[in-house]
Subunit: 684 residues, 2 copies
């Protein structure tokens, strides 16, 4: 222990940088950085191991600022410790195309682990990072080779504490006894509406105790550096529980408005900026000043971190000599590459193979590939038997004391916690050694929308196994039957929404999902059986869309996905037999991937001159992009055996034919342009 | 107290009906009804006041089955007590077009208060119902007139307890000291993945204590009817805290598989059905049998309830004599009608009025109407100063002991709890005397998607005030800038998504939202200032879409919403001056309402022969429905001052013009059909 003036100078430098950056941006949140600077100083300078020159060093300690609006705290630290975040980057805080956006984005800024700001997400990501560490350590560590030993630290505020996602994640972390997770609750009694007394009067530590966490309280987080250090030290010693340390701080410490909502989300006024600087011994006329002593202090710590990485690299090399296979697996994972030839394990199907529900086809894929892709770690939000996300011999990821599994287990029991599951998956993916998947009903991916959005934004490889994907789930009824969900996630940038029609398309969905390092996927899967289709192949389906059934001089193109493709194939026969209409069928299991194909290819699928009709038991919203006319379900579904429900809404060969005939009639004597032909390209 | 054989017979009748209905449906969840029958029997027969002949009697006790999959429990009770749920309805459980769907839907079944099944929703609805009761009582009760005095009872299971939304709602309820709320936690140690030991090992009662709840535990919920009764009695006596009673039960009590996951989500096998019946003294060969003694018992209770309503009606009549105005207001509210002439208070604007952010315009609407619509109760998920959801003199809805407001207060501090907020709003709306609104950023309506979906499905009048509706929020950056959100909710059936362009359109959005008794609304509002537009009127905008700027012999129609409409108006000038292109402008603030207009009207807005271009800084998904070409943002936004962000993505008069010219060129020599003309009508 022992803190001196240079520590206090460093703390005040962080505060003043946050004041300067938000003032210059004329926007942002100075309060949290000013209140949290002492805690962050102790944490970064006394506890965390990291090398600013290699922010991707695997065994670095992870730091997550869950209250991401306080990101000037983190940006300031990154700059001061010598990450590739310059003082000019701080000056460009919240400016277009800077690496210091208004909330931290992992792909933008070296040293940012996960994308935070939407409250509760970072906390839940931290749980994922801690799970990843525990699992990776269990798989790779050997006697004398403590290769994976990092801690995950997370700061969260009142806002995160109020969000349900964080409650879910905290309950999971407690159950999982994640001793490597240390969270700091910034107890400053202020949220945007003012004093937390107006809406948030629960006993947070008692709640965490109820979850099974180790809890501590530092009463004076503004000054008691020793107390912060002692609490962190104690938390590190607790190995069988996650730890939370409530640190009571003064938001905007040093400002005239300290301790009030006035410093939460607005820059300080000019005179207050000056007063703060004066108070902390800075020149009130100058901005973005860093005393050399502060750089020296922090660079020293950074140098120690670099040396630790150096040591670790040597350990890894030695490990490679003793454990050749493990070393190869470890380094391959770090590169994000899959084992060579893994894709040979993907099952393929012939039309003569039996009809199978695509959720079951998904189970078969997992069963065939889990041994060749050891980094595939998955689970379900308490729907294992419905999602079919667990291969037969899977071991649960559980604390060994539960006797229900162990740390090397690859199956996670997420509980009924969809939102936390998706955010934990983001954390798992961010760690660097895991490809996570998680199961729930497609309808309840909506519960996880906040986290799924961040999968896309932060460009992580996560896979949502979303079964029971339509009214085809039958009896559970409208409360469980998605109608709007595909449109929702199709509109989300950098998200692959797959809805495979059969076995080969299911294999293709997994192929693309697993090989897309920077794009998450949602794979929508049926509860009901689907026939294996003539014309479907993995090679076709990996293009996102293809001609399943071609016909010369076709009168119409039927475009469909998932369980409706097979019905379209039946409709082709029906149309020919009963109406002498020739139809072709295009399957588009994934818009995002189909859109990425050449225009020439897409026009081959959806040529000029032939009217087209989309068929999908969902909202038609968005189908106008591909089809001239749309047959869908722009209303809620119904509870009943699925065949009755399909019949009620006329998703039958006859029902499709009726719409196809109307479409052919409508375009009679008129050769419509393909919707693929557009006047201009979209900005990307 | 004192329970006899007829009580046990009633309990077993409920169990057997649940067994029969799920067996007949070959689908459903017998386990929870069988385990909960004793608790439900005591609750319904000893505590709850209701009149099956008038399920809408205002002062009835409310019952919510949050674990809605156990709905055969509730359907059986409704039948047995004499609601309009026949034995044939039970036989049609989970059949198409029955009133007994797979999960309870409030609009389908008399006696169902709220739509549950998606876990955690019902619990949160119950909090809303309890808030509504406390508020309504405070407003209308007078000395000697305890007009509004009902309790809200809610049963929830492990699944609900794990969901974050329920944690949020529980924390709110504890803060609000809702003494009228009594929740029963069905502690049966089973969820779909099996024993809760695998994922859910927290101390639930301790967690609720931390929230400020009164807690009790009934250890033998299978047999201890006296214990259940005593706990409910005690809970009713606690007036300053919500109560939770943990009742430990055996899931599937009576089945061979009782206490296991095997009875959770699957009907019993035929032999098990028979064994259960034998065990409970029923004829194993017969199904759907109700002993007359059970009908007699429950009908007696129902008669008592009817008498209580009769008494209450007399009280209400007397109240009407003493409190004429309050009585008129009360009965008007119950009818769901707004006060006559209220709409005269909606502000209107002229083009010469200053530019104002639409979130501010929304604040003006609330400020102008709150006095004439006393049933309007709102709040924000901790973004009051940003959402501008609070009129100046609003009183907070708070327990008086907090000294921050009182029960009559009309402004709710929801805390950072978007999902619970939306579900609480559903409960508030379901109560019958309140029109609720709630504020958050549009991006964080996604956190609430699960509950928002149920607003639509259950046809309640709720209003989501969704500010910061686009990249126009600027510096907060991509983590906060919605791109996919409008597409998501436009695809949701029975949801009005409004994105007003100026003051008159904002007034129109509120007009339609408030007068649509069975349709919820999301009103997307800008952070940045918007000009008052020439051509916008309330009368135009209530049609959901209209010609804002007409032009003869137009070369192109620009179609837009919200903040981009004004930029389109500028683009019209730019196109004329620089390119001699004549453009007209159509504003479509609400798809759902525009689609409901006559085809003739819609074709007048979007006529044949003129190419059209949509302009909206969001995903283009769905715009193909109205526009031949689409200018949008199919990527994430950027952090920076909003004008810089708009410029980066070319949402400027020049940028729009570039796309408009490309569109005109593309359709040169070709008169495109209006997208309004379709080959066939969608099923509704
Ligand atoms: Ca705070
Ligand atoms: Ca349970």
């Amino acid at each position: 222990m022992g803190y001196s003036d240079v520590d206090r100078l460093a703390i005040n430098t962080i505060r003043v940088l946050a004041v300067d950056a938000t003032f210059t941006a004329n926007s942002g949140h100075p309060g949290a950085p000013m209140g949290l600077a002492p805690t962050a100083h102790v944490l970064f300078n006394k506890f965390m191991d990291f090398n600013p020159k290699n922010p991707k060093w695997l065994n670095r300690d992870r730091f997550v600022l869950s209250n991401g609006h306080g990101c000037m705290l983190h940006y300031a630290l990154l700059h001061l410790f010598g990450y590739a975040v310059s003082i000019d980057d701080l000056k460009n805080f919240r400016k277009v195309d800077s690496i210091t956006p208004g909330h931290p984005e992992a792909h933008d800024t070296p040293g940012i682990e996960v994308t935070t700001g939407p409250l509760g997400q970072g906390f839940s990501n931290a749980v994922g990072l801690a799970i990843a560490q525990a699992h990776t350590a269990s798989v790779f560590n050997k006697p004398g080779f403590d290769l994976v030993s990092n801690y995950t630290y997370c700061i969260f505020g009142d806002g995160c504490a109020m969000e349900g996602i964080a409650s879910e994640a905290a309950s999971s972390a407690g159950h999982l006894q994640l001793g490597n997770l240390i969270c700091i609750y910034d107890d400053n009694h202020i949220s945007i509406d003012g004093d937390t007394a107006c809406a948030f009067t629960e006993d947070v530590l008692k709640r965490f105790e109820a979850y099974g966490w180790h809890t501590q309280w530092v009463e004076d987080g503004d000054h008691d550096l020793e107390g912060i250090e002692a609490a962190l030290e104690k938390a590190r010693e607790v190995k069988d529980k996650p730890s939370v340390i409530k640190v009571t701080t003064t938001i905007g410490f040093g400002s005239k408005l300290q301790g009030t909502g006035g410093v939460h989300g607005n820059p300080l006024k000019a005179d207050d900026c000056q007063a703060v600087k004066q108070k902390f011994g800075f020149d009130p006329e100058q901005s973005f000043v860093v005393p050399q002593g502060v750089y020296n202090l922090y660079h020293k710590r950074a140098t120690e971190g670099a040396a630790k990485e150096q040591e670790w690299n040597q350990l890894l090399e030695k490990y490679g000599q003793e454990y050749k296979n493990e070393h190869a697996d470890f380094t391959r994972r770090l590169a994000g590459d899959l084992p060579e030839g893994w894709e040979k394990n993907l099952p393929t199907y012939k039309p003569s193979d039996p009809a199978v529900a695509s959720r079951k086809l998904s189970e078969t894929v997992l069963t065939k590939i889990y041994q060749v892709i050891p980094e595939l770690i998955g689970g379900s939000a308490d729907l294992t038997g419905s999602n079919l996300t667990r291969w037969k011999d899977a071991v649960d990821f559980q604390p060994p004391s539960t006797k229900l599994g162990d740390w090397s287990g690859r199956y996670i029991r997420f509980g009924v916690r969809e939102h936390a599951m998706a955010a934990i998956m983001n954390g798992l993916a961010a760690y660097g050694t895991i490809i996570p998947y998680g199961g729930t009903f497609l309808n309840f991916v909506s519960y996880a929308a906040g986290a799924v959005r961040l999968s896309s934004l932060s460009r992580v490889r996560t896979i949502m196994v979303a079964t029971h994907d339509s009214i085809g789930l039958g009896e559970d009824g409208p409360t469980h039957q998605p109608v709007e969900t595909l449109a929702h996630f199709r509109a989300l940038p950098n998200m692959m929404v797959w809805r495979p029609a059969d076995g080969n398309e299911t294999s293709a969905a997994y192929y693309v999902a697993l090989t897309s390092k920077h794009t998450p996927s949602i794979i929508a899967l049926s509860r009901q059986n689907l026939p294996q289709l003539e014309g479907s192949t993995i090679e076709n389906a990996v293009k996102g869309g293809y001609v399943l059934h071609e016909a010369e001089n076709a009168d119409i193109t039927l475009i469909s996905t998932g369980s409706e493709v097979g019905i379209c194939v039946d409709a082709v026969k029906y149309l020919k037999e009963h109406h002498k209409i020739t139809a072709r069928v295009v399957s588009i299991p994934c818009f995002e991937i189909f859109d990425a194909q050449s225009k020439e290819y897409r026009l081959k699928c959806l040529p000029d001159g032939i009217p087209s009709l989309s068929v999908e038991v969902m909202s038609t919203l968005g189908w106008e992009r591909y089809a001239h006319e749309q047959f869908g379900l722009n209303r809620f579904g119904a509870s009943g055996p699925y065949k009755d429900v399909y019949k009620k809404f006329e998703f039958t060969p006859e029902g499709i034919s009726t719409r196809a005939i109307a479409t052919v009639d409508f375009y009679k004597g008129f050769k419509p342009r393909s919707p693929i032909n557009r006047a201009f390209q979209q900005l990307i």
